[in-house]
């Protein structure tokens, strides 16, 4: 065991730190001009799409360099590297792996520059956890595909220019995972209707998307017809060790501790309540377990060992922590936890936080699905 970095890794860390010292301003002071400057500078350094190959415009960073970059950025709460979130997370990697030369040239630079947003049309009203059961119909007519059906929970559909879409091109298949095709669709194509859905916090970040005889050129198919499932799975499997996420949790926990010091509960500071203390310590311990699980996972990756479904362990921790930290923050406030808005502490920051967990807990595969993955793929139990 050795937690030291190699000299050249240490040099890269120093480079990142020097950049941050020079260019980062505190969270509250980030103006539009600052953000524009920031985007230009990190793009110039090829830190956007840092893990992608250099020949498509990525940074060609090694695994360890990627970890260092994300780690330092997250530690200082730097703005994201690039603004095209889903483009960078899975659309881009999918295009790099399965796309034609034309598709790469057409889409990758815009994803790196953050010219516009991508959204993800996977889930349907009847196909959520069981995504492969999706039914959105798609038939080929000459050089076009014609799409009819509905997607739902499509995050930022209303602000996106393009969508990565899964459709069914064949129902005549033995297993439902076959016969699915992946298309890249421009959102202003005639026949597409986007209807935002209000979530329980009162805002709208996702939408229903309806397809009514929507015509998509065949050249916008990603990968082979009928093999869209593989395209999706391998793009989503761009698993990271998740170490950088830990910084966000550590920060939230540190704010929760501060809250516990300042709130009175049962006639004394909440930080002196043994029940609250144990829950804070338990959250602290789970966050540290995530960090260290991530390091073991990363070690395996660095050694070139096959990494399987271990990342589900941290996904489960993350989901449960996201809920627990919100609950803890409200319970620390005692009866005031039931207030909201301006009447509540910190303008209702914690009330809002305590209602945001579904993004993490439901959005990325539910805890039950993670438990199934662990039980079936790691422990070898029969599929249900």
């Amino acid at each position: 065991m050795d937690f030291n970095l190699e000299p050249e890794e240490e040099a890269f860390r120093a480079e990142v730190c020097a950049f941050l010292d020079e260019n980062l301003v505190p969270d509250g002071e980030r103006t539009a001009e600052f953000m524009a400057e920031w985007s230009r500078k990190v793009r110039e350094r090829r830190w956007v799409g840092f893990s992608w190959p250099a020949d498509v415009g990525g940074g060609g960073g090694s695994l360890m360099q990627q970890v260092i970059l994300k780690d330092e950025m997250a530690k200082r709460k730097a703005p994201p590297l690039g603004s095209c979130f889903m483009g960078l997370a899975w659309v881009g990697p999918g295009i790099i792996q399965y796309g034609t030369e034309e598709q790469k040239q057409k889409f990758i630079p815009d994803i790196l520059d953050g010219t516009y947003q991508w959204c993800t049309g996977y889930s349907e009203p009847d196909s959520g956890s069981d995504l492969a059961s999706l039914k959105t119909r798609c038939v080929r007519e000459g050089d076009e595909y014609v799409v009819n059906g509905q997607k739902i929970w499509t995050s930022i559909a209303m602000w996106s220019k393009w969508m990565i879409l899964l459709v069914r091109t064949s129902t005549n298949v033995e297993v439902k995972h076959d016969g699915i095709t992946c298309l890249l669709v421009e959102m202003d194509t005639p026949g597409i209707t986007v209807r935002p859905i209000k979530n329980m916090s009162g805002g709208s970040i996702f939408a229903e998307v309806f397809f009514d005889d929507v015509r998509v050129p065949v050249e916008n198919r990603l990968g082979v017809e009928g093999q869209g499932w593989q395209v999706t799975v391998s793009a989503l499997a761009n698993e990271r060790s998740g170490i950088a996420e830990v910084h966000g949790l550590v920060r939230t926990l540190s704010d929760v501790k501060e809250l516990a010091r300042s709130c009175r509960r049962g006639g004394r500071p909440a930080s002196q309540d043994p029940g609250i203390r144990r829950r804070i310590a338990s959250a602290d311990t789970r966050i540290e377990a995530m960090r260290l699980n991530g390091m073991r996972f990363l070690t395996k990756q660095l050694k070139g060992e096959p990494v399987g479904s271990e990342s589900s362990v941290n996904k489960l921790h993350r989901a449960l922590l996201e809920i627990e930290l919100g609950e803890l923050a409200l319970e620390i406030q005692g009866s005031r936890g039931a207030l909201d808005g301006e009447s509540a502490l910190d303008g209702g920051r914690w009330q809002k936080f305590s209602l945001n967990w579904p993004e993490v807990v439901i959005g990325g595969g539910t805890p039950n699905i993670q438990r199934n993955i662990i039980a079936e793929r790691i422990l070898g139990l029969p599929k249900d």
């Binding site: 065991m1 338990s282 039980a375 422990l379």
Partner: protein
């Protein structure tokens, strides 16, 4: 960056595993648990010959000179087969002597520890049941240069088998005024009374001291200056117990998962029901997690002492909470067979119940995590 084991460590693991699988499977563990001493001298001697008892002892005193990470590798394996031996107790006594013993003291005791002839233990707890310096009430009387000790210690690991007792006592009024004495078994006024254990593979007991005379040459380090070392030994204890808990819970999970694949009810393997498979997945999540915490704690004991207490407490807190639940699910997911004496499930459950309070339960360690984390 490498948060994994070296090739030498993997080799060590393979050797220990092979030895235990060949010599001491669970049937043998059960037989040993019925003997009064609870362990086998001949396996212990083989362990010593192979270098595993003196793993941490410096080479000049007949050991191998390795660290806690290496010992964790051995303990994961002894935990996996619930191998009964005074290895943890002896390693703690050995660690105390290595850390604070004079050259003469090291030469007097360490070679015997390394060759298996001296079994050691740490008498860390009193009837107050408070861990740490605050729990030490045994107050010495001065007799010229020597100290006279009258009092008791309980929950002393392998008390009846031990030849050497490392005994913390107070040499002054201040809470931090702690000294550590090494007391040999034959010392006048020392008496040991074995106690029954919830885990039949474990031996422990009460130590009675009635005017035991401790000369200065039996004090480790400066009199009154052992508080930091005593706290560190408790961290070492928590790490060692948790290392065995990893092996034992992995074995319990393996046993239960394989049963869930075979046992058929309602025309299907019970492992297809989520009421069965999800608790198994949770076991895996918990084991992997306290394993990561524990590896880091062991590394910190060797390399980053200022972080070791927090790291050890996180690992032991998580394990103390998770392992009993793993034990209960191991029995419960087996149905009736899990409740039988014949079947091995209960052995893991009892180990879990034994582990939970030993060197601090979840309440104790989470409170410490809170305090060390600034609240």
């Amino acid at each position: 960056m490498n948060f994994g084991f070296s090739e030498e460590q993997e080799l060590l693991r393979a050797e220990v595993r092979k030895f235990l699988d060949q010599n001491c499977p669970l049937e043998e563990v059960r037989k040993l648990s019925e003997t009064p001493q609870g362990f086998s001298r001949s396996y212990w001697d083989r362990f010593a010959e192979l270098g595993w008892v003196g793993l941490g002892v410096p080479e000049v005193h007949g050991g191998i000179g390795l660290g806690w990470v290496d010992l964790v590798v051995v303990l994961e394996e002894t935990g996996r087969t619930l191998f009964p031996s005074p290895l943890i107790a002896t390693s703690l006594a050995s660690a105390a002597i290595q850390a604070a013993g004079s050259e003469a003291q090291q030469a007097r005791w360490l070679p015997g520890i390394a060759d298996g002839s001296l079994i050691g233990t740490l008498a860390h707890l009193e009837d107050s049941d408070v861990l740490g310096c605050a729990g030490v009430e045994l107050l010495a009387r001065r007799d010229a240069d020597a100290f006279l000790l009258t009092g008791g210690k309980h929950m002393v690991l392998d008390a009846a088998n031990a030849d050497l007792f490392v005994v913390p006592f107070k040499s002054g009024a201040g809470e931090e005024d702690i000294s550590l004495a090494v007391i040999e078994r034959a010392t006048a006024g020392l008496d040991v009374e074995p106690a029954g254990s919830i885990d039949v593979t474990q031996r422990q007991g009460r130590l009675r001291l009635d005017g035991v005379r401790v000369e200065t040459d039996a004090i480790l380090g400066e009199p009154g200056g052992a508080a930091p070392l005593f706290e560190r030994l408790l961290d070492c204890g928590a790490v060692a117990i948790t290392a065995e808990a990893i092996g034992a819970s992995e074995a319990a999970l393996e046993l239960t998962a394989s049963y869930a694949k075979q046992r058929v009810q309602f025309d299907q393997p019970i492992g297809r029901f989520q009421g069965v498979k999800h608790p198994l997945a949770e076991m895996y999540v918990d084991i992997e997690s306290f394993k990561s915490l524990l590896y880091y704690a062991a590394w910190a004991l060797d390399n980053l002492p200022e972080e070791a207490s927090l790291a050890a407490s996180r690992a032991k807190a998580y394990a103390s909470e998770a392992f009993p639940r793993i034990g209960i699910d191991t029995v419960g997911l087996h149905g009736g067979i899990g409740y039988t004496w014949e079947y091995d499930a209960h052995l893991y459950l009892k180990r879990a119940k034994w582990c939970r309070p030993t060197f601090g339960d979840a309440d104790y360690h989470y409170e410490r995590v809170a305090r060390l984390g600034g609240i």
